[in-house]
Every structure is written in structure tokens, then in C-alpha cells.
């Protein structure tokens, strides 16, 4: 093979570090530069490392986790989608942990101040999450209904179908569990028993039972099927919502509003994590071992911390995009005034 052909081959391999959208935009010209560079310096480990790093950064940028390479509006949209996905992961694990504690409290109150404070913090954060989620969904739904753009029907149907599955399944399996819905003292806990049971049933798949096949085998077929189906429904819900946000032409004002809500949600996540850590660090199993923090809870806390860090970064990038949008509008106005002057 000739030297230019070898260089082209190497450039082609290096290009694979970059995401598809980036390659379709910059691929040809970047390959030309790489070929010229390879012909000049055939062996360069620095170049390989530099291209690999650039490719990873481009992938993060495409995922909305680092910025300034997309149009301001696109950057806000993509970052908000990334934020939503991180928040969904955080909520999935957080709700599983929280429902475990709320169900414990249905039977007996915690016997340490740390767990009590943790429960209050986590419950307040869950309530705040609900309020923020409703506030975030309202303008998006309104835009979807108002615009009725092509390509929105599929994601909208997916969102509705997955929400129905989660609601019906959560209600069914929540009511079927003797520790919550059917309990005679179901209202003695911090939150209503039905809410705790629904949250528990919705996140049944986040369970240490996966590591104990003998215990898992004692579950009914229906519960096992639900443990497999519910994460798919949650993923479908998050994926459908992400597609709606991506495909809907949301106004700059709505994007700015959603970005501010994202920042507020980061604060709520921090409060929830603080409560979660207080409970785990407290370490008390509580009466009848109801508040025992196991390895899965520690693992869940690690996942939630990672999701929180990624969500915070996505919110920061979305805000920088919103800032660029605002600056662009101001700049256009200023330019007009300067031109007139």
C-alpha cells in the first residue's frame, strides 16, 4: 500500500473516535488535515492521543455535557435532554431508596434522629421533584399540542403508553403488597401508605434480590415479569420525553424557563443526596431492621451521585447556551443601533 493510502487508512481509523453527526459535518476536511499531518509525521503518539481526546470531547458535546460547538438553541435542547436522562436515573434509584424507607415507617418510626431527618429531607425533595416535573412538563406539552409538528406522534404515544403501564402496574403491585396498601396502620408513616406502595412497586426492579436467585425464585411470575417490564417502561417514558423535547421547536423563553427549572432540580437533588447520605452514614438498622442500609443502597447512592454530577454539568451547559441565545439577541439589537449611529 502507498504512503498516502496508508495515511488515508490511518485517518479513517482515527475518525472513528468522533460521533457520527460530527463526522458528517467535519469528517472530510478533518480527514484531509489528518492525512497531511500523517504524511508529515508518520508516527506520532501525541496526535493519536489528541484525536482520541478530541473525539471523546465531541461525544460529550453531542450529548449536551460540554458546550459551545452547537447552535445555542440546539445546545440548550440537547443539554436539557441529557439533564432529563440523568434526572430519570437519579429519580429511579432515589425513589427505590425512598420508598423502602417510607414503607419501613408505615410499620414503625425510625429510632435515630439522623434517619428521621434523612427521611424528612428525602420526602420534601421528592415533593419538590414532583412540583418541578409538572412545571417542566406543562410548557413542553403545551408546545407539542400547539405545534403538532411532524414526527411528534410516535414519541407522544410512547410517553402515554409507558406512563399508563407505570401507573397501572404500580397501582396493581402496590395494592397487592401486604405491607402497604392493605396495612391497617397504613397512615401512620411520613407519607400516605398508598404513595409509598406505588413508589415501591414502580421501582421494584431496583432490588438486591437480583443477587439472590433463591429469594428471587419465591416471587410470583407476575412480579418477576413486572420487575423486567417496569425498567423498560421507565426507559421508554424518558426516551419518549427526550424525543419530544428534541423534536419540538421550543421558544427561547421556554428553553430558558426549563434551564432554570433544571438548576432548581439540581438543588433538590443535592438535598435528596444529603438525606440519603445521612441515612447511610447513620447506619442504624432501626426497629425490626426496617431501616437497614445495604450494599445496594450504597451502590444506589454512588449511581445517584454520578447522575447528579452529570445533571449539574448538563444544566450548566444548557445555561451557557441560553446565555449565548440571549447575548445573540442583544448583540443583534446593539448592532442595529450601531449601524444606525
Amino acid at each position: 500500500m502507498s504512503a498516502p493510502a496508508l495515511a488515508a487508512d490511518q485517518a479513517d481509523r482515527l475518525l472513528r473516535w468522533y460521533p457520527k453527526a460530527w463526522r458528517s459535518r467535519y469528517g472530510e476536511e478533518f480527514a484531509e488535515l489528518l492525512i497531511a499531518d500523517i504524511c508529515e509525521r508518520p508516527r506520532s503518539r501525541t496526535r493519536t492521543l489528541d484525536v482520541a481526546r478530541g473525539g471523546i470531547v465531541a461525544r460529550f458535546a453531542a450529548a449536551g455535557l460540554c458546550g459551545c460547538t452547537l447552535e445555542a438553541g440546539d445546545q440548550v435542547r440537547v443539554s436539557l435532554v441529557a439533564f432529563g436522562c440523568c434526572a430519570a436515573v437519579f429519580l429511579g434509584f432515589g425513589a427505590a431508596m425512598w420508598s423502602q424507607l417510607t414503607i419501613g415507617w408505615q410499620w414503625s418510626a425510625p429510632d435515630t434522629a439522623a434517619t428521621t431527618v434523612a427521611m424528612v429531607l428525602m420526602s420534601a425533595a421528592m415533593l419538590a421533584f414532583l412540583a418541578l416535573a409538572l412545571a417542566a412538563a406543562a410548557p413542553v406539552l403545551w408546545s407539542v399540542v400547539r405545534l403538532r409538528a411532524a414526527g411528534l406522534a410516535g414519541p407522544a404515544v410512547l410517553v402515554v403508553a409507558c406512563a399508563v403501564i407505570m401507573f397501572v402496574g404500580g397501582r396493581h403491585f402496590g395494592n397487592g403488597w401486604p405491607g402497604t396498601g392493605g396495612h391497617p396502620w397504613a397512615r401512620q408513616g411520613l407519607v400516605p401508605g398508598g404513595v409509598a406502595a406505588f413508589s415501591w412497586a414502580s421501582t421494584l426492579s431496583v432490588s438486591a434480590y437480583w443477587a439472590h436467585p433463591a429469594a428471587l425464585a419465591r416471587f410470583s411470575t407476575g412480579e418477576l415479569a413486572w420487575m423486567a417490564l417496569s425498567p423498560l417502561a421507565l426507559a421508554g417514558l424518558a426516551g419518549g420525553a427526550a424525543a419530544l423535547v428534541r423534536r419540538t421547536e421550543l421558544s427561547p423563553r421556554v428553553l430558558d424557563f426549563e434551564t432554570r427549572l433544571g438548576y432548581a432540580a439540581c438543588g433538590v437533588m443535592a438535598v435528596f443526596l444529603a438525606g440519603c447520605c445521612a441515612w447511610i452514614v447513620d447506619g442504624g438498622a432501626g426497629p425490626r431492621n426496617l431501616f437497614h442500609a445495604g450494599a445496594i443502597d450504597v451502590g444506589g447512592a454512588v449511581v445517584m451521585t454520578t447522575a447528579f454530577a452529570a445533571a449539574r454539568q448538563a444544566a450548566r451547559v444548557a445555561r451557557s447556551g441560553a446565555g449565548r441565545q440571549g447575548a445573540g439577541r442583544q448583540g443583534a439589537g446593539r448592532q442595529g443601533r450601531l449601524g444606525a449611529g
Partner: protein, 114 residues
């Protein structure tokens, strides 16, 4: 908002401000494609920008509206400075010159280095 705080349009670039300034300075005398940019920057700054770093900065500069691609039938697409980019470069270099002037004056008075 970050955009409102920006004094010269390059504040948000952080550690990419170096490559960004070099690229904008190189494009100040006309459009250039990637390889020509690398060579020009190497000649006037003594720095060879690696391909990944160069295109990371180009993508950011384009996203910020400081440069724009020029229509080309060649696979090597040239870029040129926009009016916003020219103003941003001017403001950035003015700020750098103020720092350089001050540093040189202090070196001259304090260390006798002229």
C-alpha cells in the same frame, strides 16, 4: 448570564482561549483551511496545533459565531473570520496588550530589563 459577562467573546473558552486566539489571529488576514492554519500558526507562534485540538477550537469558534466556513468544492474547507469574531479578537488582543505593556514597564523599572 455568561454571555453578558463576556468582555471580548473569548472568556468562555477557558483553556481553549489559547488555540482560539491563535486561530482568530491567523484568519485575520484571510480565509484558511485546517492544514494552512496549522502551518501559519506554526510559523508566527512557533506552536503546532494538533489536529484534534485545532478542530475542537474551530467547532467552538463556529458555534460562537466568531468564524464561518467558506463555500468550497475542495474537501479542505476554508474558514474565515466573522465581524463578531474580528471584534472579539480585537478586544482580546487589546486586553493582552495592556497586560504585556504593564508587565514590560514593571520589568524595566524593577529589574532594569528593557
Amino acid at each position: 448570564m455568561p454571555g453578558e459577562r463576556s468582555s471580548d467573546g473569548l472568556d468562555g473558552f477557558g483553556r481553549y482561549a489559547g488555540p482560539a486566539t491563535l486561530i482568530l489571529a491567523s484568519l485575520a488576514d484571510g480565509a484558511k483551511h485546517g492544514y494552512a492554519l496549522t502551518k501559519d500558526i506554526e510559523s508566527f507562534a512557533g506552536v503546532r496545533l494538533a489536529p484534534g485540538t485545532l478542530y475542537e477550537a474551530l467547532a467552538r469558534l463556529q458555534g460562537q459565531g466568531l468564524i464561518e466556513p467558506v463555500e468550497s468544492h475542495d474537501r479542505r474547507r476554508p474558514y474565515r473570520l466573522t465581524a463578531v469574531g474580528a471584534r472579539a479578537l480585537r478586544a482580546h488582543l487589546d486586553a493582552q496588550r495592556r497586560v504585556a505593556d504593564l508587565g514590560l514597564r514593571r520589568l524595566a523599572s524593577g529589574w532594569g530589563l528593557t
